[in-house]
Symmetry: C2
Subunit: 366 residues, 2 copies
Amino acid sequence: MHAIPDEIQTPEIVIDRDVLERNIARMAETARAKGLQLRPHAKTHKIPEIAALQLAAGAVGLTVATIGEAEVFVERGVDDIFIAYPLWLGARQAERLAGLSTRARIAVGTDSVEAAENMARHLGSAAGGIEVLVEIDSGHHRSGVGPGRAVEIARAAAAAGLRVTGVFTFPGHGYAPGMPVEAAEQEERALREAAKLLAEAGFEVSRASGGSTPTAALTGATAATEMRPGVYVFGDAQQFELERCALGDIALTIAATVVSRHEGDGATPRRVVLDAGSKIIGGDRPAWATGFGRLIDHPEARITALSEHHATVVWPDDSELPALGTRLRVIPNHVCVAVNLVDSLAVVSEGKVVDRWDVAARGKNN
Amino acid sequence: MHAIPDEIQTPEIVIDRDVLERNIARMAETARAKGLQLRPHAKTHKIPEIAALQLAAGAVGLTVATIGEAEVFVERGVDDIFIAYPLWLGARQAERLAGLSTRARIAVGTDSVEAAENMARHLGSAAGGIEVLVEIDSGHHRSGVGPGRAVEIARAAAAAGLRVTGVFTFPGHGYAPGMPVEAAEQEERALREAAKLLAEAGFEVSRASGGSTPTAALTGATAATEMRPGVYVFGDAQQFELERCALGDIALTIAATVVSRHEGDGATPRRVVLDAGSKIIGGDRPAWATGFGRLIDHPEARITALSEHHATVVWPDDSELPALGTRLRVIPNHVCVAVNLVDSLAVVSEGKVVDRWDVAARGKNN
């Protein structure tokens, strides 16, 4: 592993450009080999420079979660965006969405008759310029409807003046040990059934969108036309612990310093404390994770507690505790929320800072 | 409860100014009644306007967690700041800290001989202008040392040229059901013992700093000279579930919209999905919490899952599911991390937007 460049003041987020570029190329090749279009989810990075690398590698466009994220990327010249979210529009959001549709190909999600009719009502004459994909629940049980309800929603959307072009799903239940294969199978079945029902009802179904990083290699090309993985550009501790990436695929870490060090005794743990906490690592911790992130050069250590500015790292007895002042690299559990905590980050190559990128779409929640 | 003003586009963070001012006045009164100085932790709000209200109500100064936060508040005229953190300084941080000490009274923490010597070495001739408080572990087992080691660290710090003026501790183990009383007792014992040992060793101990929102009413005035609660300005779902505040004390909520609605069946839960996720609510969830936050007007509902832009809210069978498009107010579990996710927020009074405040110290992690 490369050392942290001296000019970095910890804590700070650092991207390894070489690993990033390798990850981007590999997912592009995976999609090509499967005959799927790749529409990476840009909520992971929120960085126009990374979107440009993805598009240059063959991505057909971007996925985002909010109108605000779409605005940032359209402003930077991206011309094909899917807001993969069941939007409930108000007047102001409808104006913003209509504005976007004059500058780029825009698709949005919907999962109810009411939301589709509300969207069309607010969009008025702009409705016909927006593509709509019906969201299908393939087993994650968040938003989305069963395939059997897709036709009813598509018909209401079309009757209200929207242009229905397909279906999408997010197999988020694949983010757990032992689940990716089953989630990908359910995704494939759900997309195939929904697309078939829509086609039988007379809709021209040109898009069936699925995919996530844990299931990307498994997404069924017999049902889907495109996939939307996001995390793959960086990898993170969740993907590592789910065995969806190796430590060598981790492109983003948080540079941190040991500020407190305790050999421990019967009553207190043997630990060091790092100056990176939940305000830069992010606080996500699924029940199956082994801690609040990992140390890239010390797989034996565990982050057992996280405060806003402290990571408590417990060390096994047979491994030497790092000295005070040691700089270490933390892999966040969930990289999307870590990136969203900083305005900019350092880009390194072979141990040298070669660039700084702004997280241009940070905080664009609405 | 007041409705969400129409001009708010969800999701957005909203502060109720009247509740905020009441919370500030009440904690100021608590501190006065106990004979303790109040030095609120500004990492909770990161907002100069709120710091000004706290100082006007009698706070002696502010607490912050990082040099970057101190810079923002000194720039806005705050002249007495305690960086309650065991800093490990590099050259650039030392320059910044020295710069602050020419403009304000600055104190910092330390919990090791090595960190104190490293700090003094980097500060050079500026060392004498910085007050140092030795961090004591009163049972949280994060940073800090047992009271018995305070003298050794204070002596090293003084020998290196720093000005040791006292001790501090954070009773963070009070953030759990049934723990505040025990944590406050341990805090009081630890501060008293450490201060006594330092005094016996010849140090003039003018500061013994403790406190947190869950223990604020319990902080022992026989040992402490000041307390540093932060969350009390807003309250949050953690404090509510720990019974440290009532729903009427909650000054900050996230305005959100129902974007997806499902009556549920045997296989899928009866739920609504809100457009506010972990990128605005924050992902913190202690094991004892009942969910990922609460709905202020629907105490019966539970946020069972949180993605970046979706909150899944399960509703009991005997309570009507809100309609699509309904606007609801979410109380975050941990308000400090929610505020840190936005650049600015709306301030309301009696249901009207009366101001917008910038979160000026957002993201100042180093």
